[in-house]
């Protein structure tokens, strides 16, 4: 390295950009152990502080991709969707089957729940028998055969991202648009995609609280995608209330099955059709968004998408008879109604607190080692702006092994009621 690790860290802390070569050398030395965790964590904090320029970001992402293998799915129209995470977000289980039913290939690589957000892999594993493919070859085979696959990051995909993420998790450096965007994009680019659709969540239940933050993330994602010849589109969607009516591991699978039965809530179905149509376009399979959306609606309604879902669940070892009995996914030890001692209009939901509360009850993880309790969750009866009567249930909580009475008692505080309805908020804040 032309400069020492500490000189490189100092350069970033002073707000000066790092050269392409210095980033490559530093990251490679980190992976080999010549740069230490304590030096990397100091650099990560300087990046939280000073940010990365677009060229720095692109190089940083490239080194993460090159640290591992890239999927080689031998098909046209390989596409994926990524959500930055919120409460009640179960769109992956719906959009991947839709676009697979229309000739695209979706090697959907997802994560586990952490903090207040749910994780696709945990929800997937709550279907009895389902196994997560462990190798790139297995992911490729399943995707080529079925048009989709639900998987996690394998050990040889972006090992540098894995090492960095573990370090960020224990050093207060998770929240950073630069580090978040490079982490997401390195994994997605490693899937060998032609196109990617982003769902950037924005609001009190998301990592990006404001539209400015969401747009800043989008800008970075776009810069990285452009530098790597990946087509990108997507939405910024509202996360000031949970998506759909259900949150929690199995309760969300229950709602997915409702959507396949045309009984899904309007917000969830609408977002799924938008995202699916964007995926169809960004994959190169469709040229017109409206046509893509019409076809997406058709395969959702005629059962072809559901068939794709059943096929891949079965191929991954899942017991698909449970999918035919959705009530299986709504069992819980105890059901508790939560009501408010006020009447008026629902003006605010503390979505993050709701997600964290469910997480504490077992629906999510408070640390990476914890296990989740799939039956824990809730049904939210009201949406922002709905009228509420005094004493009317606003929430039904599904409890599991851990009956944390403190969380249940706090639940009413997650909601605010006013005498006037709030300004209505668009679900789709921006389509790009």
């Amino acid at each position: 390295m032309s400069i020492s690790p500490q000189q490189l860290i100092f350069q970033k802390r002073e707000g000066r950009a790092l050269s392409d070569q210095d980033i490559r050398t530093f990251l490679t030395a980190y992976l080999s152990g010549d740069v230490h965790d304590y030096q990397m964590s100091a650099l990560l904090m300087s990046i939280v502080w000073r940010g990365l320029t677009e060229p720095e970001l692109s190089t940083w992402t490239e080194v993460m991709i090159q640290s591992g293998h890239t999927l080689k799915i031998n098909r046209d129209y390989v596409v994926d969707k990524h959500s930055t995470g919120g409460v009640g977000d179960k769109t992956s289980f719906i959009v991947a089957p839709i676009v697979a039913a229309l000739g695209c290939y979706v090697p959907m690589i997802s994560g586990r729940s952490l903090g207040h957000t749910g994780g696709t892999l945990d929800k997937l594993e709550s279907i009895p028998g389902v196994k997560i493919p462990q190798t790139s070859q297995h992911i490729t085979d399943l995707t080529e055969a079925h048009g989709l696959c639900f998987a996690g990051q394998t050990p040889n995909m972006c090992p540098l991202d894995r090492k960095l993420y573990a370090l960020r998790d224990v050093t207060g450096t998770v929240e950073s648009p630069d580090l978040i965007s490079s982490s997401i994009m390195s994994k997605k680019i490693s899937e060998g995609l032609r196109g990617l659709t982003l769902d950037i969540k924005c609001g009190n239940g998301a990592f990006m609280k404001t539209i400015d933050e969401a747009q800043a993330l989008k800008k970075r994602m776009k810069a990285i995608a452009q530098a790597h010849n990946l087509d990108l589109n997507g939405v910024i969607s509202d996360m000031n209330q949970p998506l759909g009516r259900y949150a929690g591991v199995r309760p969300e699978i229950y709602e997915v099955l409702q959507v396949f039965r045309e009984e899904g809530p309007e917000d969830l179905v609408s977002l799924c059709l938008t995202l699916a149509s964007q995926m169809l376009v960004v994959s190169g399979k469709y040229s017109e968004l409206e046509k893509a959306k019409t076809d997406a609606k058709t395969v959702l309604e005629n059962g072809k998408a559901y068939q794709k879902f059943c096929n891949i669940i079965k191929a991954q070892g899942g017991d698909i008879s449970t999918l035919e009995s959705p009530d299986f996914y709504l069992k819980s030890s105890e059901t508790i109604p939560v009501s408010l001692k006020k009447s008026g209009y629902l003006t605010h939901i503390d979505t993050r607190a709701l997600g964290s509360g469910l997480s504490k009850l077992g629906a999510g993880r408070t640390s990476t080692e914890a296990s989740v309790d799939p039956q824990v969750g809730c049904l939210i009866h009201k949406r922002l702006g709905d009228p509420i009567e005094f004493g009317e249930p606003i929430l039904t909580m599904y409890l599991g092994q851990k009956n944390d009475i403190g969380v249940v008692e706090q639940a009413a505080d997650w909601f605010e009621v006013g005498s006037e309805p709030p300004d209505s908020q668009l679900l789709l804040q921006e389509v790009f």
Copy 2:
């Protein structure tokens, strides 16, 4: 700990103050190994970014002091001086003997050279035979017996500071007024002082480049001193040119001996008398600065200070016959004159580059493991504002083992000459 290490780091990176208890728990856990280096370095970088409030700074310093032992010198008027470091700063060897000759006790604990600055311990060890006391008891005994002692930080003085400093050195977190002031003050307070005189260097050869930075450091030092009942005074002194005429390990001892022989340069002698008089007052021994200064001048001129110097050097094993032959300290393998191809007035000295250049030639350390070459150094013939003739020597370089021709060739670039003399700069920027 009521919050996890990563939550505490996150709190600081978001700019929120840490509680007294959380700082104590985090630092104690770091010392015991329960908080890891990679977490501490992330916190240190957040502190570089966000700073510490005065209560945080005071607690941080207190935990560093409590991590080790405090000297117990059984005398009145225990006092020390600390300089933040510059080029050609050899005042310690002069002021400690002066105030010891007037009844004060000075357990002077110093450091080694690093980067572009010289270190008192390296200069001390260049006197044949001198040994550095290794225990608190030895430092205490020498100080009680002779009124002064030249020592380094022992293993059980502020071990937490030692551990933190080693980490800062390799993580780009050395430069931080909060971390610098807590590091200095924890060591000084551990000396069990009644009073401390600070020499905050300010200018292009110092860590603090501007008067604002120097005053910000002073403010922090004062807050820590006040919280620990330590009387504090001092100066902000100019470091836009080397102090005195000589720089380098033995060349500086040569100049110290010149001062004891009343042949010292005016700037050095003047600063020494100011600092010595401030030490006499802050120790409680004198109440009036003018009287203290008169007496300091007297013991410097009548040889009593020199006698104190010889006594402690002898007590620490040094061959004091060499002190009687100052030329011993000006031997070098080669002497090279440097002149400028311009005439006019000396308007600028790049003091940091001069210090770094000497360091590269062997006068200092470029890494903590390196050894120093005591004969390397220089004599600077001109001061800022002096008239210069074309071709007139501005510098005489004393070379040692390592003849780095590149450095010698650069030497003329350290100086700038203009047609007008620069605005004159006061040596004492501020007395507090």
